[in-house]
Symmetry: C2
């Protein structure tokens, strides 16, 4: 399991053997069952989770009492409520396993120690944040600008694997659609109308 994380780290940063020994000593291995709640909203998010296998979602209950999905995560993605993790406040988000998930998790104390002691790992986590910030900014721009169909196409092109793995009503929630609207777009696509 740790090999997969190390390979991911080495894609983005140069690390020493000692950094990886420290990392291994601070990481917790855990398996979450399908539908298990990894983090309930209202609690402190103590961990960042690196997904070795499986799929997760983060969501909140909106003002209308309906689940609103904010993020999905699959293999090689980190899942957390960053605001809760960093600022040590109650999480606004629930995190839930959508499939059986093997994860490597690091808590705030461990994370701070890694950042302090290893410039290579600090650099890796900085690059992960760069990628998140870029993805978030693109998403904000899409939300302002694209039609429903364009949002679907953009998401499908960036993340084709999700279309198969995630229930349609969850995909609809993430994209800000009603399930009926998503179904209409997919029907149109399958008939080759656009």
């Amino acid at each position: 399991m740790v090999d997969q994380l190390i390979a991911h780290i080495r894609k983005f940063s140069t690390v020493e053997e000692a950094d990886l020994i420290l990392l291994e000593s601070l990481i917790r291995r855990k398996t979450y069952q399908k539908k298990e709640l990894v983090l309930p909203a209202g609690h402190r998010c103590h961990y960042q989770h690196f997904i070795v296998s499986g799929c997760m979602r983060s969501f909140f209950i909106n003002n209308k009492g309906v689940e609103q999905i904010v993020n999905f995560g699959i293999e090689n993605w980190w899942m957390t409520d960053y605001d809760s993790f960093v600022n040590e406040r109650a999480s606004a988000l629930n995190i839930q396993a959508l499939e059986e998930c093997e994860v490597l998790s690091i808590n705030k104390l461990g994370f701070d120690e890694l950042i302090r002691k290893s410039s290579g790992l600090a650099n890796y986590f900085r690059i992960i944040l760069e990628k998140r910030h870029i993805a978030d900014q693109r998403r904000i721009q899409y939300m302002f600008n694209l039609t429903g169909e364009e949002i679907y196409d953009t998401f499908f092109n960036l993340n084709p694997e999700f279309i198969q793995r995630v229930p349609q009503y969850m995909l609809a929630s993430y994209l800000g659609f009603t399930p009926e609207f998503l179904s209409k777009i997919r029907k149109k696509k399958s008939q080759g109308l656009s």
Copy 2:
């Protein structure tokens, strides 16, 4: 000017004197006039700009041909198109000075050198990214969940200074409102109706 940036860095990270000498050697000082375009969309964003004084916005022209504001920046904020800066691709965003702006700018080569040579500065830029990611994620959640009035209240509470500094039609664009809708909310507030 540089003292202001150093004070900002020291709020978040521990840096050595040598780091700051390196930083000063890599930074460009520049003043942009009110309304001057700092970055035109379609060009590479070569710089991250630390705003010493003044106010900027980033925006794109949406599918309807209308300016859509994505971000504002004021004193002690960094402005850039991060996707363009990091991935060395054409910027999707324009950046424009809304007031006369004094900025300290660092280009990609200089930034990479800072990150490589100074763990204290790398840590500072990682923390800035954490703050951006948290702000982006909150904004995505608001966009999904809050009513127009709640979005206005949230923005006003977080950034009261913008209400005075930024033209109302720009504020409306940033919040995803029509100018008429923003004007209606403000009228209601001034009459103490909510």
